[in-house]
Amino acid sequence: MRNFDKKLLDEEKGRKLRIRGERFEVFLAKPWDLPLYVEERVVDLGIIGRDVILEQERNLVNLLSLPFGYCKMVIAGYPHISLEKNGKEIKIATKYENIARKFLEGKWSKIKVIKLNGSVELGPILNISDFIVDIVETGKTLKENGLEIKEVLFESSACLVSNVASFVYLRDEILSFVKEVRKLNDKCN
């Protein structure tokens, strides 16, 4: 954001959650709360991971993929357990219940999604689940826990999102910002 509003750099001190620039007023929020702020039009724009956007399915405009926060949403498990159908109910441990249901429905005859709030790798280790669905950056944590990636469900990065009504009322301003961000993306690539 500092590329688009230099004043943000001067204002960004300490642990402030609200930073006023010349062009933007920036709020630093937890990733899982941000879609709500955008949907409720507390803010006009947000930068949120695609994993959270797809999980929460809120009413937003997902405008643009940004070149940071890369990771993969994967299904992972022990090497000796295959994804093949075996007629049994398959248990999936995950923080991403909706994504697991959406992407894995129909893959097996029956699945049970078990919601965990963190350290999802414990699912197979403690025999709570057969597989896990989680975001992976390097795959190091999986490896250290004896798990491997079975399938990539989708690739994720940070995304620029907008409130639906803001996109209509501030269309010119938002699209001009999108243009600037795309230009910067092209330069970085």
Binding site: E39, E40, I53, N62, F154, V164, A165, D172, L175
Partner: protein, 318 residues
């Protein structure tokens, strides 16, 4: 402002344009599998509370060569987060073959109602489904098209572009449609034609009294139902978080297997009520105070006021 007064304004305006009210049952028999639908069983029949009104009306009316104007107001139901949610849907339809005046008329009624409610800072976001036809033709695969349309409806441009397997030249055209601004020129003549049609429709709206600030052109706009074909739109109010409602041009088969062409608009009343309270002019009323015995004498005076169209209310003087 009371719900009844809002409905009165809308009803009166529609009647002045020659629209007639239609009423349909609250219980549906033949819809299945729709998400959030409320079902129950009675004497071996599965029944559902209506989730919306427009489609059911379109199914039941016959197509005629003359314009058919109708409006509806009534409750709709859905299951939301484990709770039954009841809302009140209001909409109007002009069933007639595709014509510019037909589409303009429906939107002019929106404008006139907003004028009467003193709502000035609304925006009508306009699109045209035909702009996308050349893209869908290139993709061919119907399932794929459905998925891509789904992303446009959800306004998930990131997933849309990720799933768009298409030559880079057309891809650039698509990107320009998603982030459209009037300075962009398109190579594909069919896309250009669809955009011109939309622009000329907007020019007509402005000629008819819409302010430029009331209109936003968004070629990437897509509506939730498959039956839309041609001009589509969504209506926004300044302090709202999402669209008040929407509509557009459609082609739908009725239960007699006839093709029905029309243009309509529908919205949920609660979304408007919360926002117009400050804007609505209150209806003036005359109050007549008296004891029980005075009522018979006062009645004639009240009747005369009512004949002039003035609301007259008796207040007992206890």
């Amino acid at each position: 402002m009371k719900r009844e007064n809002l409905e009165k304004v809308i009803r009166r305006k529609l009647e002045l344009w020659g629209y007639n009210e239609v009423r349909i049952p609250i219980l549906y028999e033949d819809i299945w599998g729709e998400k959030n639908l409320i079902y129950f069983e009675k004497n071996g029949k599965f029944l559902a509370l209506r989730p919306e009104i427009t489609r059911e009306i379109l199914k039941s009316i016959r197509y005629e060569e003359t314009p058919k104007r109708m409006f509806y107001m009534g409750p709709i139901f859905k299951f939301n987060g484990g709770q039954v949610e009841e809302n009140y849907q209001i909409g109007w339809e002009l069933v007639y073959r595709p014509s510019v005046w037909r589409d303009l008329e429906v939107l002019l009624i929106v404008k006139e109602i907003f004028d009467e409610l003193n709502i000035e800072d609304y925006i009508i976001e306009l699109g045209n489904t035909r702009i996308w036809e050349p893209i869908w033709k290139l993709i061919e695969d119907k399932e794929r098209i459905k998925v891509l349309k789904g992303y446009l409806k959800k306004r998930d441009y990131v997933s849309f572009l990720e799933n768009l397997e298409i030559t880079s030249e057309i891809r650039n055209e698509v990107i320009n449609l998603l982030y459209y601004d009037s300075s962009i020129n398109f190579v594909n003549p069919l896309i250009e034609e669809g955009l011109k049609l939309l622009l000329s429709f907007i020019e007509n709206l402005i000629k008819l009294g819409f302010k430029e600030s009331n209109i936003v052109m968004n070629p990437a706009l897509m509506r939730p139902y498959e039956y839309y074909d041609g001009i589509i739109f969504e209506v926004y109010l300044k302090n709202a978080k999402l669209a008040l409602g929407g509509g557009g041009s459609y082609i739908e088969k009725n239960k007699y297997n006839e093709l029905l062409y029309g243009f309509g608009f529908a919205f949920v009343e609660e979304n408007l009520l919360g926002l117009v309270n400050k804007n609505m002019p209150e209806e003036s009323a005359k109050y007549f105070m008296g004891f029980d015995d005075d009522f018979i004498r006062i009645y004639e005076d009240m009747k005369r006021e009512r004949e002039k169209g003035i609301v007259s209310i008796f207040i007992p003087n206890n």
